[in-house]
């Protein structure tokens, strides 16, 4: 099992969700996030007081998938979230030791 973490542009969330579903991914967790990479933040100005927001709003998508599905899931995200400009985000893949479905107690691949 692998944990895929994708940091993407917020308006790309629906496309990424559809692409992952088409690739056979059964579920995911989404949270709003802020961060920075090469993309710089916006400048705000209030009565002459200037604030540069160093962090840009992003969406963080997490999905745990069976090892065999990792490659197609990553490709699905990479294509769906791509606009070709800086700030498109990143994808990370991590190992997962265990997974347990709370309702039934099923474990690992059966639980995801």
């Amino acid at each position: 099992m692998k944990l895929i973490i994708a940091i993407i542009k917020p308006f790309k969330l629906e496309e990424v969700r559809d692409a992952l579903a088409a690739a056979g991914v059964q579920g995911m967790t989404v949270s709003e996030a802020r961060g920075f990479g090469r993309q710089k933040g916006q400048t705000e100005l209030y009565r002459g007081a200037e604030y540069t927001t160093a962090f840009v709003p992003k969406v963080r998508v997490e999905a745990v998938v069976p090892a065999g599905l990792v490659q197609s899931a990553v490709e699905a995200i990479q294509q769906a979230a791509n606009t070709g400009t800086i700030g498109d985000g990143k994808i990370f893949v991590l190992d997962v030791d265990q997974a347990i479905r709370i309702r039934t107690g099923e474990r690992d691949d059966d639980a995801i």
Binding site: Y46, R47, G48
Partner: protein
Amino acid sequence: MHRTGLRFAALAGLLALPAAASAAAPALSVDKGDTAWMLTATILVLAMILPGLALFYGGLVRAKNVLSILSQVLGITAVAILVWVGWGYSLAFDAGNAFVGGTSKLFLSGITGESLSPTFSAGIGIPELAFVAFQMTFAAITASLIVGALAERVRFGALLLFSAIWLTIVYAPLAHMVWAPDGLIFGWGALDFAGGTVVHINSGVAGLVGALIAGKRLGFLREMTPPHSLSLTLAGAGLLWVGWFGFNAGSNLEATGGAAIAMINTFVAPAAGVLAWMLAERLVSGKASLLGGASGAIAGLVAVTPAAGTSGVAGAAGLGAVAAFACYGFVGSLKHRLRLDDSLDVFGIHGIGGIIGSIGTGLVSSPLLGGFRPEDYEIAAQTWIQIKAVAVAVGWSAVGSAIAFSIVRLALGLRVPPDAEREGLDITDHGERAYNF
């Protein structure tokens, strides 16, 4: 109330009576239309404060302090109402000396539903209790304005005590000097139709003094302190503008053409202010902002306040635009270079705008510039009187406010503890949060 000193003086001369004596003359008759208008105008001015000013300020602070500033405006308004009926009205409008009124009207002693106050028209009065209430709302908004300079760091109780002291030793005497027939500045013939000196310069300077005495917020100019809801701020600014018709047109004291003059000027000056501030922003920083437009409206309203009854529309537009440019220069640039934490720009808009409006009133009241003073109006002489009135207002407010703030600092302390300031005053001073998601 005798906003236009020269007009009242002329009236007194016509009757060949001292002004104070004519005020006491029993020959006044009362008009139902005037009374209805003054009752309405009074309510409009209350709406400027609650919720107008409260929301205007509330949107400008961070989300952790919005309830604290709303509570402060609410609490100060309540204090002002009780102080006013207790002794404020008497000290401001009872016959006294050149600096302060007398004590014969303490707790509104002797004032009944039959009592009348004079207006600008010979023989026409309005119920004195309507006048008391109208003036009460002026005292309340002036004291409430000050908290903008002290936002996000000063204790609730300290501000209530400050307001009680300040209204007594600063506001009531200055109102007497400017608006009572035996007042010092009234006697000079200064023009202050609706409170450029008494309300705006007074609160602006008090805010400046308070910001200096209370000190800067923690993290000032290091942490971000952006407004938490400019939507609230625009709602508040809009209510301020609407209520300002009660403030300015109500200061005519009668439902006559004079009120209509004040009303049209109260439309025109803030309109010029909105566009001037946004134009300045567009030229300096590239973008015209909503906060800039709202600030320009307030700057224009402040500036036209003393001139509302005597200026023509061209003069009002000019005052609004000049005030907006000047206030933008101060709050957008100079304030930051001075490292002054006048948090919500009370001095920057009410102080600066009030000074420009009060002096500018000397110019725009001239018939040569479309104003409504008589043909023999002397611009230079009147403007010099306006400058003297501004100087007295600035000095009186600065010294009196410093005394009032110092008393409160010794008695209660001004600042909340540093941990409370970081946590936010909503939870530490009031035990509430504005937004529970």
